[in-house]
């Protein structure tokens, strides 16, 4: 019984819109040409949105619901806007008369009522309103684009989605990045000049064996203490534990925190340095007494730190049976 008035309104609207159909489409194409937005997009408000999406439609319209106002702090919206504008401008470039596909944007500040009506609490949302050919209600339902926030080439994904959902083939050609090219060229020239000028000063450093030894050791220590794991998995530096404490050793064998790897790297480096001291420095000491003390000291450092390392490893792998005194975890 509620269906009847609804049908009536739809019918009446139908008659109205049929009359102004060519009108409506041209309004929007004109709007897109004159609008303040990017070339090829129409900036909507509540009224325009209703008009645009009201069936029947003989065109496809894409609506981006967004919230660009800095008050909302929607980073995703801003990121996506560029990609969306790229799609729109590409379409507009290839099809100056739009050819039945309209790209529109409805910002939250212009269309609060619409956002409420559609029950949207997040942005950005991209919707596709296909043309209506028959009158069946299912056709009026817009399609929603599945937004992937980590998509590095969102424009291409949107274009692919549009091409698969509509009869329009949307192609994307990204504009050539001249800024990048020139930065690269100037960077190269700059580096070349700088190195040419600085060469007389840098040469002795560059041929310094100590420098290269230090660099190699730092690299080796960094990599063997699991730095690449931190880099790839983006692990936290430390984690706020329970009781307000800070836990800096990750539980589990194949997991680690940033601080943890640094501790391990330091332990490795001190152990390695103790070994080097024992085999290179000690035999070169001239005083017998000093040598004895130094050997003892380094030996002790070696023992304590290795013991610490073993206990650290036992923390990571509970079933590990070995330990080294003095530290027994």
């Amino acid at each position: 019984m509620r269906l009847l008035p609804l049908l009536a309104t739809v019918a009446s609207l139908l008659s109205v819109t049929v009359a102004q159909k060519p009108h409506k489409y041209t309004t929007f194409t004109e709007l897109s040409a004159s609008n303040k937005g990017t070339r090829g997009t129409v900036i909507l408000n509540d009224q325009l949105f209703n008009e645009l999406t009201l069936p029947p439609r003989n065109y496809t319209s894409v609506v981006l619901f967004t919230a660009l106002d800095p008050r909302f702090g929607c980073v995703l919206c801003r990121d996506f806007q560029g990609e969306y504008d790229l799609v729109a401008s590409n379409w507009f470039r290839d099809h100056p008369k739009h050819d039945g596909l309209l790209f529109t944007v409805l910002d939250f500040s212009d269309g609060k009522a619409t956002f409420q009506k559609l029950g949207m609490s997040t942005a950005p949302i991209l919707m596709l309103f296909p043309p209506t050919t028959t009158g069946s209600p299912s056709e009026h339902m817009p399609l929603k684009y599945d937004m992937n926030p980590n998509d590095p080439s969102a424009a291409e994904s949107v274009a692919r989605w549009l091409s698969s959902q509509t009869k329009h083939a949307v192609k994307i050609t990204r504009p050539f990045n001249y800024v990048k090219l020139f930065t690269l060229i100037f960077g190269l020239v700059g580096t070349a000049t700088l190195s040419k000028l600085a060469y007389p000063y840098l040469a002795p450093v560059m041929y310094s064996r100590n420098l290269w030894a230090a660099l190699s050791l730092v690299a080796v220590l960094l990599f063997t203490s699991g730095h690449m794991f931190n880099h790839i998995r983006k692990v936290p530096y430390v984690v706020q534990g329970r009781n307000g404490g800070v836990s800096y050793i990750a539980g589990g064998f194949s997991n680690q925190f940033g601080l943890e790897t640094q501790i391990v790297a330091v332990v490795y480096s001190v152990l390695a340095f103790a070994t080097i001291a024992l085999c290179l420095k000690m035999p070169r000491m001239e005083s017998a007494g000093k040598q004895k003390v130094a050997v003892m000291a380094w030996n002790l450092v070696l023992l304590v730190l290795f013991s610490f390392l073993m206990s650290l490893f036992k923390m990571k792998n509970g079933s590990y049976p070995f330990f080294l005194p003095p530290l027994i975890a």
Binding site: D146, R160, Y207, R209, N210, W212, A213, S216, L217, A219, V220, L221, F223, T224, S225, G226, M228, F229, I232, R233, F253, S254, N255, Q256, E260, T261, V267, Y268, S269, L271, A272, F273, T275, I276, A277, L278, C279, L280, K281, M282, P283, R284, M285, E286, A288, Q291, K292, V295, M296, N299, L303, F306, L309, F313, K316, S319, Y320, P321, F322, L324
Partner: protein, 766 residues
Amino acid sequence: MASPKSQQKPTSTLFKDPAATESVRSILKVLILLTIAAAAVASRLFSVIRFESIIHEFDPWFNFRASKYLVKHGFFDFWNWFDDRTWYPLGRVTGGTLYPGLMVTSGAIWHFLRLISFPVDIRNICVLLAPGFSGLTAYATYLFTAEMKDSSAGLLAAAFMGIAPGYISRSVAGSYDNEAIAIFLLVFTFYLWIKAAKLGSAMWGGLCALFYFYMVSAWGGYVFITNLIPLHVFVLILMGRYSGRIYVAYSSWYALGTLASMQIPFVGFLPIRTSEHMAALGIFGLIQLVAFVDFLRGQVPTKQFNTLLRAIVILIAVVSFVGLVTLTVTGVIAPWSGRFYSLWDTGYAKIHIPIIASVSEHQPTAWPSFFFDLNFLIWLFPAGVYLCFRQLRDEHVFIIVYSVMSSYFAGVMVRLMLTLTPIVCVAAAIAVSSILDAYLAIDSPDDQDDESDAKKSKKKEPAPPTSGSTGGFLSSTAPFIGIYSVTSKAMVVGSFTVYLILFVLHCTWVTSNAYSSPSVVLASRMPDGSQHIIDDFREAYYWLRKNTAYDAKIASWWDYGYQIGGMADRTTLVDNNTWNNTHIATVGKVMASNEEVSYEILRKHEVDYVLVIFGGLLGYSGDDINKFLWMVRIAEGVWPQEVQERKFFTARGEYKIDHEATDTMKNSMMYKMSYYKYTTMFPPGQAQDRVRGAKLPAEGPVLHTVEEAFTSENWIVRIYKVKDLDEFGRDHFSATAFDAGKKKTGKKGGLAGRGSGKKGRRLVRA
């Protein structure tokens, strides 16, 4: 060893006359090496003793199958082998897409043993090949290290290499994989390279090329050699250490090695077309230039020479840069992409090649893994590298370059720990042997006689040609004196002995606990501590072998392809070779879609059985439900419209299998086949998945298009038979509904009639 050198070794003071004990020491060396080899082999036999002589894991099953094919059909058939029993219906040009080195090696051993009337089953050769080669690896490490320092360091390195878990992880008995022989070849090729570079001999360069060829035929990791040797040469040139020796060694290795490597069908023209081989080619060009310039320098007066040199360098740089760009743009040289590129751009694989990112051994390495695999070698490693900087002969540069590169690679990918292990053993052996050299000397310097003794020791110090210029290197400027106190000596030697013993214990424990499981057979402990063997995989594969037609096609996730081919001897759709991403995505789609979609794909591929691995009952976490997201992701990569990862997550973004699971999840083939009838194992409403730790919905899934054919003892392997078309031409949904005693609806049947039962009832009521 050469006697002038051994005279300087502190250890030689044990024997007052080194020349007289030369033969004794040689015999000792041989004995020690033999003992090390025996220890290396013995420590890899845990799995054979605990379980049986069985091939492990996944890839070895293919290698084993290929080896059987080789000994059965001969070499030429093997070379041209087209395998129509995998990748159905595509097949695989197996002979042209594998590294034949491993199979040919075991085939050769098999033939040799038959020749001396000692027939051994090919399986036993395959199982024991890796331990056998580990003995050879220890020997190769000895040779390599002896070139770096001396033979005592060599013996230590051999011992480390023999038992280091980092290498054992890939070479226990039964782990019949390419790495089994490849690590030996890697170390030996490097030894030959060092020899060639030291002597400037084309013969050693040629030998190096020969073993490089062997390596190329055995393992895709040969690219490591292809890049490391040029890098070594490049660094030497940058250091101003170009010499005729380097030129001869590199040119002979590169020319012969590259030509030889191109004979492997799988490699073919890659060495001149792909980016990962370009470094070797570029350095080959560079060294020709450097040699030419070096030649000119002797002929032309200095001033003109400099002008000429500058002109040549600029010209060549421009020409080669333009050439490289043109070749890359025109596509002759493959652009930076693929497996090797993902080592540099660590985020690349996850976005572009999920199939690589999905493999667990391609994950980055956390620090405990390093310590687990190398124990105290890992902190001796930097010390050894540092010691190499002291003398910094050409071969020491090699160690340094190798260390930095391989520690990076090992950090990025767990699997590449394997290439790091040899150099860690070598560097650590250098460090330990330096310590022992200093602290094991029986003669102590005289305290009173400081001055003169210092001078004497300075003369005694090993004096290689370059040691005059240690470049003011830290901690080696003062003259070598020695250790005065016996207590100090005893303490240092004592503590290092403890560390060494601890290392042996650690290695044994790691090998026994972590690396000796065949993963085909699982072991668990009973409450009373006795071992319980879980043999579901073989049970199921044997069932397939005995109860299905020889040409039955089995669909399973690609992980199990090789095992099905090897153990069940049935045709598979996809396997661990992963050469065709679309085909794998097809299987992924079968698992991720609902029954209607899947059934159609299964019929089109003439699949007879579908096999899934389910660990829910036993708590076996490596099962298909846990791998399921990767199947979805790979399928989504090919059919983004039909399979969507997002739909498998709940609204809160969780991956659930209990009552919160999404409909897409619950209707997917994988879910249905995993949990089909699973609830009947438990009292009503109590069904629990022990892997995910979740309670299952009381109502289990219903299957229409496949029927359960076999479930193994612990439910790990579940096999389903794909139903034939219905005799009466119905679709399977209405057929099962009919069988369940529900009336078939007349017009509303069809595929949409999954709720047909319900509708039928309503009709009856009306």
